[in-house]
């Protein structure tokens, strides 16, 4: 089962590496959105430090949501997805592989670039580290939850905007605790622990249930 998982991951990463612009557009979208806020709300130091965690998280939410559309779209268009449904391997493992590859390509770059964005918002060293850690645990949850929505809206006209309507309300817990962790870390790093524990709990829950729900959604969309 692990081999199946790795095969899917390797395949998706290879495919994406042949078309690198897709990966880079998500990253630059994140950077641009986060850079627009200081232009809109003014650049006072204190205010930016206060708003930083929330803005970075909302930008991450939007970036990962926009990337979702591509999760199944190309495989759906060329019929690969239907073949995957027919394989004897459990569909949820295949889905998990696809989601993991998708996270490697869209979520991980966000985690790595986020400290740089944090510098734009005058966040301190510990806050930057906490932000990266929270994003590292939180963005996989976003990809996993989003996969359900992506599978449900597969091949629909206006799928992208519909997807945001379905998925964004479900992102709220991750947003609350993710930005909460960064805000709290500015006061006392020891207070971060419960936030990280809850984010970890979300990740475990999402890992357990989201592939099943996504697999069921794919079966509904493709039958």
């Amino acid at each position: 089962m692990f081999r199946t998982f790795m095969v899917i991951v390797r395949r998706d990463v290879t495919l994406a590496m042949r078309r690198r612009t897709d990966v880079l557009t998500t990253l630059f979208f994140f950077v641009i959105v986060a850079s627009l806020f200081p232009l809109g709300i003014g650049s006072e130091r204190e205010m930016l430090r206060f708003l930083g965690p929330g803005v970075v998280w909302v930008a991450a939410l939007l970036a990962s949501m926009l990337a979702l559309e591509r999760l199944f779209a190309s495989d759906y268009a060329d019929g690969t997805l239907e073949q995957m449904l027919l394989t004897p391997q459990p569909l949820s493992i295949l889905v998990l592989g696809k989601v993991f590859a998708h996270w490697l390509l869209t979520g991980l770059p966000l985690v790595l670039i986020a400290p740089l964005i944090g510098l734009q918002y005058h966040l301190e060293g510990t806050s930057l580290a906490v932000m990266a850690a929270a994003l590292l645990v939180g963005t996989p949850v976003l990809s996993l939850i989003g996969a359900i929505g992506a599978a449900l809206t597969l091949g629909l006209r206006g799928g992208g905007i519909l997807l945001s309507l379905l998925v964004l309300p479900l992102y709220i817990p991750v947003l609350v605790y993710g930005s909460g962790a960064v805000t709290v870390s500015a006061i006392d790093v020891a207070d971060v622990q419960p936030f990280m524990a809850l984010l970890g709990a979300f990740l475990i829950l999402a890992l357990a249930f989201s592939p099943l729900a996504t697999a069921a959604a794919l079966r509904i969309s493709l039958e």
């Binding site: 359900i148 449900l152 809206t153 629909l156 006209r157 206006g158 799928g159 519909l162 309507l165 379905l166 964004l168 309300p169 479900l170 709220i172 817990p173 609350v176 605790y177 809850l198 979300f202 829950l205 249930f209 729900a213 069921a216 959604a217 509904i220 969309s221 039958e223």
Partner: protein, 252 residues
Amino acid sequence: MKRHWFHFAAPSTFYHLAGRLTPWFLGLALVTGVVALYWGFFETPDRLGGSNPQKEYYRIIFVHVASAWMSMWLYIVVAAWSAIGLVFNTRLSYMMAISVAPTGALFTFLALFTGSFWGKPSWGTWWDWDPRLTSELVLFFLYVGYLALHSAIDDARRADRAAALLAIVGLVTVPIIFWSINCPDPNQCAALHQRSSMSDIDGNILFGMLGLTFAFWMYSFATSFMRVRSIILERETDTAWVAEVIDREAPR
């Protein structure tokens, strides 16, 4: 007369049952609604005690609490019908789910709307990021997402099943969303809704609240049945029994 318990699971038989039941529910909703509103307006005290006495405007409570309760209950109903549909593969369950949802969305909106009119005189603001307000807003988003997904898919079978799955996923995440907004330490975030329980409520007021909740519930039955009847007719246009119904009702 003994009947199989799946008898009314067929759209053709349920269409007639729903048609016969609708006026009863509508009548019950009207009668209890009028009684409860009369009670709420004229038989209850005109100010509530406490350190900050609430004057006449507290009467919004009768509509506000009843619609908030119905909004949550109807979401559970939608998810339950969706689950039944996915398990037993009965078409009528999906039709019930999709015909309950608009009423649920309406009550969610009503709860938010009346809440803001209550909030203005008592809190001095139309809107505040109070935990319950926020979770009610999220519930509204979930209803909207459900309805939007259903109407975006042309194929009825796929629309039913996809929306059903979404409703169940939504139901699973509702408690998580609720607890994430409703932070565990009430001193840390502004909670404008005080903790309360049924036994703390004055009997007179409770009567009005429960009466109006009952009225709203009956109203939900009536509207869902009316909606499900038209959905059945739409989906079964090509069948013989629909042709019969149209023949019978057309001259009138």
